[in-house]
Symmetry: C2
Subunit: 345 residues, 2 copies
Amino acid sequence: MEINKVTIHDIAKALSIDSSTISRALNDSPRVKKKTKDRILHKAQEMGYQRNLLASNLRKNITNTIGVVVPRISRHFFSSVIQGVEETAYQAGYNVIICQSLEQLEREKKIIETLMANRVDGVLISISMETMDYSHMEALKNGGVPLVFFDRHCNIPDTNNVLIDDFKGGFDATQHLIVSGCKNIVHFSGPQALGIYKKRLEGYKAALSENNLPFREEYVISSRLMEQDGIENVKKIVTDNLDFDGIFSANDVAAIGAIKYLTNNNVKIPEDVAIVGFSNEPISTVINPALTTIDQPGFEMGKTATDLLLKYIKNQNGIKKSQTIIMDSNLIERQSSKKVRARNI
Amino acid sequence: MEINKVTIHDIAKALSIDSSTISRALNDSPRVKKKTKDRILHKAQEMGYQRNLLASNLRKNITNTIGVVVPRISRHFFSSVIQGVEETAYQAGYNVIICQSLEQLEREKKIIETLMANRVDGVLISISMETMDYSHMEALKNGGVPLVFFDRHCNIPDTNNVLIDDFKGGFDATQHLIVSGCKNIVHFSGPQALGIYKKRLEGYKAALSENNLPFREEYVISSRLMEQDGIENVKKIVTDNLDFDGIFSANDVAAIGAIKYLTNNNVKIPEDVAIVGFSNEPISTVINPALTTIDQPGFEMGKTATDLLLKYIKNQNGIKKSQTIIMDSNLIERQSSKKVRARNI
DNA sequence: CTGTTAGCGCGTTCAA
DNA sequence: TTGAACGCGCTAACAG
């Protein structure tokens, strides 16, 4: 019931050995005789000693901890990234602090501040949709904290990024819809301040152009890509009587909203409207097995980003000042997507 | 580019004021003249001072941080709990460390160890499916760390818990199926070492009994309730030619697996097989709007559990040694569940 | 209101 | 191989 207050000094006193030796023993230093070490470790165990990492980290000026900041942990893509981060970090002896910005800039700033105050050794981040001012990122850089962006990155010079090829993804998605017979493809886009959404839109445009299809402003709808946005978006184009037979959604959540709305209104997918979304969310295939996705390899991105970050933290030689890694993201056709839309055959 | 090394002493030197005054000013103590405080804050900003929480916490022997341990952050129930925890904690000036055990006892133990080493002020936890030895929980208690279990709790004396009425939930779920016309109800259960699954099973039995329906061992299938388990479970009873018209799943994930399998095999839900699952997962209603759920109020549980924990941390008077709070969890019928199964009318 | 002094618990010099 | 002493950065106690 009593608060644990056993320190190395308590062990030292109990054993009539100096605390510095206790410290060395607990850190498995080779400079302590095996016999003494055993005695100390045994006694520590017996007294219920718990190392105080605060003190240890303060002294060493290193925390062996990295922070990872995502918009929402509940989004499958992000939680799979976190999985990859944890696996790689733990293996390397690092702890991970998970933080979610909830897409709010204010929270993101606060998080960065807290991480810095807690002296994390490095930070992995995918920025919020509200993030357009990068002062907190600059603060991190100025603080000398190694930093790696993944997926949603910042437009600032000399940064490390782990990304997918968003232009190609947008192109592939659109191309797939076109090949499936779609001629009027709506694009659900995100905030243009985020490079990933800009690139996906560019890919969309390029695919249209390559297939001699017109680009029409009214076929691009920007939103924050929440499920409700997907619902509203599709509701709007339906009530506007916009002629459409395909949707390329910049994420899966909005695509799910669209599927939900369309299904409730007896629109068949993919027969009436084909849909492609960026995602690595297995659940979306349950909702509608016809949902083709541009697969974002979250787990691998997490591992890759962490590897990169750890290199910078350990200041390993031979690494560049800054670098960007582009990962593969393949278009995955699901089960029923073979049933190409009838009216276009 | 240089690592931030500005300390209160640097500010003190720059201003020819003692560092203790700097400290007081930065903590907004009323015992510093407004004028001086402004000068200090300004200078701190200018020099890019970043408080070192490690040192501060070490000195104060308080971290203003609570740890929350869940099996998986990607499970909607748990991430909604975390939402509630964060909201309440932040409001009270506390930080939150999120940890996931991934249902592994070893990881859970390691996490508790790390949290203790980092001197968190308290811990909220929902234990893993593997957790049957409670030594790490005892260690926490012995360390004097306030502890609150939510949902998946431990069978040890004098603990604080925030739970739902699992017996009632199991009863209601089964009763609902019976009222809908089901006579042969399968129950997907979890590890019986966890009280919640035991209680849900008891509720199931009680409802059967009250309706003069037989309890049959072969209608209860225990698993770890992953999506794949749901698939395997239902596959097994189908190939076994077990006669069933209803499923009560102890969680939503397994229910989703079952829905997936059944739908792929042209079994109509709820017309052929009605399903009820414990859940607060909105996505499940998208997958099949007919899925009735026993709603687990994750967000509220998170808030309640945090409130309770903070009371213990602050050692507020008038609180009991230990207590258990039972929260309401209502059965929620979805859209199409009104279409009661035809063949039973 | 501000300065002085003394640690929080640990790890790392430098001696012995 | 071990001990003595110092300091990481900060805050609390006591003066003044």
